[in-house]
Symmetry: C3
Subunit: 215 residues, 3 copies
């Protein structure tokens, strides 16, 4: 019997969801920590090993997602709207999916130049995932609503900072990079990092929607 | 007290929405006029100034959007389905967002070659935004339905024309452009112009959906 | 009176939908057969002729889609949820749209090098479209649910195979292709083929959703 199976019998319905959201949020932390490590690892072989770790994290994320949907389909009472649970779960899953997809591209495109912009951006993304856990965790008790809102504001700020780095990096790329294939690679990697930051803000937006409805 | 605040007290509920849609539609006209100017401005400094104007227009667009959502959340009676109001507002906002995003790329990618294809395309987009105002404005009175439908047809035609130019421009690019970085830049700019035209047709599609339901 | 018009009078409501789904599914087979031929045709003129065929197939697909939506809007009783019919129809239409879009790009980008990876991928896509017909056709009688599920599994397997080829092809491209414009072209063509495979799996996902609800 898996974790979701056990939960069915021993934990009150609403608690289950919070435990599962927490797991999913922690998984984004693991994924983003590995991603940050990937961008700071000079050896291609070591990077490939980290890529495999990220692949395993992504698979775990899919399992968490399926567990939540499974419990959702078998619950009459849910802590908030089904649609919102669905949305929150999917957006958290998307964060991990995009991290996995980016790690794949780093390998496939044979990227070797990781600029300090990139390193800053993935470091901020990791901070964002830490905040996701705070925001999602805070949903369990609406007395936390101020704390949750603060996290969402923080997530918005982090997204803006990634965006600023993205603009500087792209601008510098088109100014300085004369090798077109290198430019293609770096442009795509930068765009993919920025997408992850947007997705993290999407999680924050769902959290805010839930808060507005229930707090 | 802002415009939306004033409206709350003096204008009957339904009228409010039409006034706000009108504002949002006019904002697309402003944005597209600035975009057309951007593509016809040879100096990079002048283009940067226009970029700032577009940024301000985009911010204004966000405020209009938030006002509409705010009034929507506090209205029991709406001129048409909430979902349709939501959709119409978002699509109009998307037009301005994409114009802003394109103006940013022109700057970031340090684009300097604006082909006559591009100039034609942004000119048609401006015409499209003028038609958006006609179409959206016509929703206020369903006696106008013929006029609105005519606008929607016109919007479809304009989208097709942008599409034709897009195909010619891309074909010519891959035939003639030998500098790969220049090709990357122009390809992306062309794709972004075409996306705006698609988004304008999305507005027209929402208008038609509303018309079918209520006319 | 067109086919949809005739159906209105002579065929029981539910049967109509299955007949129309079948038509739409067969259209994806035609489109993917033409696409496979396109990638195996050395002459640019011959490829352009195939492109025109695909354009006609896409137009036919739009008509099928409109017919289904039309019948849907005029039916009180439907074989399954309106939303699911809507979704299934749109996803099938998307497959043909993406095939058409890809054939356009092959022409616009003046592609001349069709790698064996590409040829394998479009061959698998054609097999996928054959399976779409089996899966969609099986919905008519829920006694077929095992057969339908088998088709969906097969579709998942085909998507994975396209994905594997995609990864090998991109990896080989970034390892071997030194001409940046050629790299841009091939990268985009490969990405577009992979998108079609994803869309085919989307069809399979809708079919599974319907099966879970009604079987």
């Amino acid at each position: 019997m898996n974790f979701s199976g056990l939960l069915k019998y021993f934990v009150p319905k609403e608690k289950k969801f919070y435990a599962m959201f927490n797991q999913a949020a922690e998984n984004t932390i693991e994924a983003s920590a590995a991603l940050e490590k990937l961008f700071n690892t000079p050896s291609a072989d070591d990077r490939r090993a980290i890529g495999l770790t990220i692949k395993a994290i992504e698979k775990k994320g899919d399992e968490f997602t399926n567990q939540i949907f499974d419990v959702l389909n078998h619950s009459f009472i849910t802590p908030f709207d089904r649609e919102d649970i669905n949305d929150l779960t999917s957006k958290i899953d998307d964060v991990v999916d995009l991290i996995y997809s980016l790690s794949g591209k780093v390998d496939l495109y044979r990227c070797t130049n990781f600029s300090s912009y990139m390193k800053e951006m993935v470091a901020i993304i990791h901070q964002g995932c830490l905040q996701i856990k705070v925001a999602v965790g805070g949903l369990e008790d609406f007395k936390n609503s101020q704390k949750v809102l603060k996290s969402c504001k923080e997530l918005h700020k982090l997204e803006s900072r990634v965006d600023e780095y993205y603009h500087m990096a792209i601008s510098s790329l088109f100014e300085n990079e004369k090798d077109p294939i290198e430019l293609i690679k770096q442009k795509e990697i930068l765009q993919n990092i920025e997408k992850i930051a947007n997705k993290i803000e999407d999680v924050s937006d769902v959290v805010k929607t839930i808060l507005v409805k229930y707090a």
